[in-house]
Structure formats: C-alpha cells, structure tokens
C-alpha cells in the first residue's frame, strides 16, 4: 500500500501539482516569473556557484529525461565498455559540478548578509532539497556503479509505466533506500516548482534564438 502511495500516487500528484500549478501561476501571476537573480548584490561567489550549478544540473536533467523517454538512444550510446565508462565519468563530473555549485550558493546565502536579506523561506527549502538531491544522485553514482545501464531497466520502465497510465511500481520498490529517496525527492521538487523560483526553468527564452532585435508595438494594431 505504502509503495503504491509513494511510487504511483505521489508521482502523479506531484506531476499534476507541478504542471497545473505552473500553468495556473503563469496565467494569473506572470509577473512573479523571474529568476530572482541576486548577482547585482554579490558577483564573485555568484559566478562560481551559479555557473557550476547550472552547467552541472541542466545536462544532468536532460540526460535523465533522455533515459526516460529515449531509452533506445541511450542504450546505443553506451553499448560498448568505452562509451559506458565515458557516460559514467561524465555523469560524475556533472554531478560534482552541480553539488559544488549548490554548495557555494548555499554558503553564499548563509554568509553574505545582503543575500540573506533577500532570501525567502522557499529559497532555503529548494536549495537544500536540490543539494540533497544531487548528493543522493552522487551516492548512487559512486556506490551503485554502472547506473547508465541499470537505470534503463529500473527507472525507465517505471517512468514509462506511469507515462502510459499502467503503473508498475515493482520496477523500483525493490531498490535500496538511497534510490528511493532520490526518486521521491525528484518528484517533490517537481511539485514545488510552482511554489518557488524554479518556475524560471519553464520560461527559458528559446525565442531569442530567432526573434528580431527591435520590437515595436502598437496598441491594438498588428506589430510592425
């Protein structure tokens, strides 16, 4: 029963809250969508923290998504020992970058008084959770090696089963506690998205790649 709650109900609830909540917040309070950058108040730690964090976490997140939704591609990409070894190494490097980055950001919020002044309780919650999430991710990477392959036989079918509404929690219920914590925190973070600054991920400015430089706008007339 608990397993159904944790690995079937909770993920669905978390996804629903995350998606519906973010859309609702966007529609009702778009003004609140911002990265809440604090670089203006402190620049040096911010450079190392934010750069390491984002350059670590964004590829890591994308690779996870790849593992969930493009397992065949992922499989091909580490089907030889060399590529598997490379994947393992890349994962660890990215994870450590993210961990150090999150650590610096936490340290910065604790020690720089101007930054602490503008830190909200939610900032503490998500930053600590993210730090913990990356930490447990690295535990998995170091203690349970070759995650690039076992991932495809545990997490991937579980997520797939959830995607197609034929939940099969048995793929993950037998895994050790560290795995479970990592999975659950991941969904918790997703659920927290609409309640935190994580909404900044949802408004990644793709259109800057092609939009024209100058925007001239008439009131109630077509854009010229």
């Amino acid at each position: 029963m608990l397993e159904i709650m944790l690995f079937v109900v909770f993920p669905y609830v978390a996804l629903a809250v995350g998606i519906v909540g973010t859309i609702y917040r966007y529609l009702t309070n778009q003004y609140s969508f911002t990265s809440l950058s604090s670089q203006f108040l402190e620049n040096d730690l911010q450079f190392w923290g934010s750069t390491l964090w984002h350059y670590g976490i964004i590829p890591t997140t994308l690779i996870h998504l790849g593992g969930f939704f493009l397992p065949k591609l992922m499989f091909i990409m580490h089907s030889t020992p060399e590529t598997l070894y490379l994947a393992e190494l890349a994962g660890k490097v990215l994870g450590i970058m993210a961990l150090v980055g999150a650590g610096i950001m936490l340290y910065r919020r604790l020690t720089v008084s101007k930054i602490r002044e503008i830190t909200t309780p939610v900032d503490w919650v998500i930053l600590s959770l993210l730090f913990g999430q990356v930490f447990f991710g690295l535990i998995l990477a170091f203690l349970y090696r070759w995650g690039a392959t076992w991932f495809l036989h545990t997490a991937t079918p579980w997520i797939e089963s959830l995607t197609f509404f034929q939940p099969a929690p048995q793929y993950v219920t037998a895994l050790p506690l560290a795995h479970k914590i990592h999975f659950l925190t991941g969904f918790l973070l997703f659920a927290l998205m609409p309640f935190s600054r994580l909404v900044h991920i949802a408004t990644f400015p793709f259109s800057y790649m092609w939009r024209r430089f100058q925007l001239v706008i008439w009131t109630r007339r077509k854009v010229v």
Binding site: T34, S35, S37, H54, K114, E117, I118, F213
Partner: protein
Amino acid sequence: MKVRSQVSMVFHLDKCIGCHTCSIACKNIWTDREGAEYMWWNNVETKPGVGFPTQWEDQEKYHGGWELNDKPKNPELKLKLQNRLQTFTNLFSNPAMPTMDDYYEPWTYKYGDLFNSPLGDDQPTARPISRIDGKPIDIESGPNWDDDLGGSNIYAVNDPLLATMSAEEKQRLFSIEQLFYFYMPRICNHCLNAACGAACPSGAIYKRAEDGVVLINQDKCRGWRMCVSACPYKKTYYNWSTGKSEKCILCYPRLESGQAPACFHSCVGRIRYLGVLLYDADQIEDALKVPDEQLVQRQRDMILDPHDPKVVAAAKESGVPDGVITAAQNSPVYQYVKEWEMALPLHPEYRTLPMLFYVPPLLPVLNATQPNGTQRVETDLFSSLENARVPVRYMSRTLAAGNDELVIKSYQKMIAVRIYKRAETVGDVTKEEADAALAKAGMTAEEAEAIYHLTSLPNYQERFVIPPYSREGDIEELYDPQQRKAEMGFGKRQGPQRGL
C-alpha cells in the same frame, strides 16, 4: 519610406544650473520604493567626472551599445555585449553585470537613536545604515558623489573620456583658473536602435509605436538582466527586490494626460524641450553602418521634415495620426536638432540612435578680461574657439563621436546669437560686428531671433509640444494602474512581497 513618430527631447546644457530638481521629481514619483532606491532614472552628473554609475562611459568595462565590424565592404552591427549564442551561455552569470558597488549602496539613518539613546555626556547621533541589510555602513559613494568636482584629481581625472585626450588638453581642463565643467542631466534616450531591447532574452523590452517610448514589460521580464549591461548609458536598472529590470518610462502616464514628464515639468533652468520627430524607420540600419564621424549627419538625415507634403502623406500612410503630425510641425526639438543643427545626440558612437539631444554648454565663454575688469564678448570667438575654456575636443567626444566640426558649428550659432542680441540690447558690440558674426555662422537675423526666443523666453506650450493621445479609446482600463504605485510602481497589481 516607413514613417514613425518619436517623442524626442532636447536638453539645453547651457541653461542647466545643476540643481537636481529633475532627479528629485523623478525619484518622488517613480523610484521611491524598496529595490529602486538606488535607481536614478534621471540623474545629473558633473562633467568631466565619473558619472553614474561610476565610469559608465567605459564600454571596455561595461560592454554596452553596438559595434560595427571592421569590414567597410560588408559592415555589420552587433551588440558589444555578446552574440545570440553567448546570451544563452551567459544567462546564469552575466559577466558584464554591473553590481551595486558600481552605483552605491542605498542608506538611511537610525533616527530612532536620537530619541532612544540612554542619557550620556555625548550627543546621540543617527548612524547611517544600509537600506538593504540594515547594517551600519561607511558611506563611500552616492548617486552624485563628485558633484561640482570637475577638475578634481580624485574624481574628474577618472573620467573615461579623458583617456582619449592629449596631455596638454587634459592639463588645460584641470588648471586652476581655466577649470571647466558643466552639468549633464541624463535620462533614458528612448533610442531607435535600443541595445537594451535587442539584448533582452525574453523580448520584454519594446518601443511603443505611438510615441517611441521604450518600456520594459514587467510581466515578461524574467530577470535575465542583459539589458542592464547592454544599455551603454546604463539607464536600465535591476530591481534587487522584485527581480525585474526597470527604466525611465518618460512619464507616459503623464504624457497621456497631456502633461510634460515630471523632470521636464519641474526643471528650474527650463533647459528641457519635448516634441515629436518623424523619422524614416527604413533608414535605421544603414544610418548606423557608417564611420563614427558621419553618424550624427545620418541620424539627422533620417529625421524627416514634417512640413514636406510627401512626408505628411507617407506619415499618414504609415498610420501616424493627424494630431501627431501637427505636433511634429510645431516641435521645438525639430528646430534645435534639424533646422538649426544645434542639438547633438549623446555618444552617437554607441549606435543606439538616442533620441535625446543636447545643446552643448557654452559658459564660460569669455576668455579675455578687459583692463578695467569688465568682460567683453569676444567678437572673434570663432577663430579663437580653440583657446576658449570650452574644450571642443571633450565636447565632440561626448556629443558628436569625435567630429569637432559639428560642435563648433553649434557653438558658432550660439555665439552669433549672443553677439547679435548684445549689439541690440547693450550696444557695446557694433551692428557690423553682429552682422559679421551671423554671416560667419551662416544664419539670418530671423533665425537668430527664433533661437533667442526659444532659448531664453519660451513658455510651457513652446517647450513641451505633447502630441494628442487617445488612450481612452485604445485601451480598456480594467484595473487602477495606480493601486500599487507607492510600493511597486505604476501599473502593478501584486504586492511588494519578494517572489517565491
């Protein structure tokens, strides 16, 4: 020809007394709230001086504005800050981000201590504390820290423009009895090729087609803070509390109700003029792909004669309302910029096509004292402008991308008007001298009269020719835009709590 209208501005620096009334008017209306305390949408700097934020003109440090590649055959404009790809790689930490130290840390005083201190031998004092974290601070800089310190070898020597001047020119600027400085009030230039907007990853910064006011859509701004670096004039500011960037809005709520912007309205020296310019938007790009010295001329060429029937027809074609065209025909800005060619754009070499123009400062124009202690207008000042206290070189670096001729021409007109009026009212200059001066400046007596009138005697309606707006027909006001003005600024609905 694609005709657009732009509410444009002229600041007559010769009239600015450096009183900062404009800055205060603006602050009281728009930026007197948390996160915005350090912002001065209007600021007045002493030049030569470091300006605000410190050394904003040093684009090697701030990377503002546009650059032309050095291929004359295939000229291309790019943001000095970064290309599109770099915009994405720099999102997480903007390498050219000015920080609060480049502006100043806003502070208040612990006034409570004056009342609550225990009885003692000393007077209680109100210590300065940071408006950010409430900690006591030593005030080390402020928005106008080097006010009146032109010639100072602590502040003014750090003016980035001086680096481009010869040792001799510099020495002249700093020698005691030759000292020269002036005040330069600055607001957003509401540029035609705005670098702030071009750099914004979210596309939140736009130009209103009706009047050319450049605004940041606060709902679309995501705090990527690229505009802050990209604006070469440092006229977008990052609100550290709301996580959004903000800038001068040219008091559009006032314009829409027929009032001049607050800084214009309150200006004690009456140095400010506001009016519509019609321009040809098709020329924007080509006008910027020319060498520095030609930039001002090309910008002038873009500005169209609102009396020309062809221009009027094209303007109507492009959707410019009749009332706006009439306003353009009466625009004092058109007279200063185009007819008289006296007003020049600030740092045209940044290639943003700024639409705020400055008449260069003339005082102190007198460089010769008569034996009896009185001073006499130099009638041969044209030939001796090089010896005047006004450093032409410095002015041309500021207002003409280094093109001395343009500045000299503007000065010649101002001096000719002076000599002409002096001959008329004081009489210590002969009529012949005055006529010679006019001839040399290439102007008629009527033009001199018109310049004199608009410079010295204009009334409110002559200084501010505000085009008619029809906002009540254009938009439906669904909520009161003033409801959160005191805490959050105009048009905002959410309270001042920091985002989640």
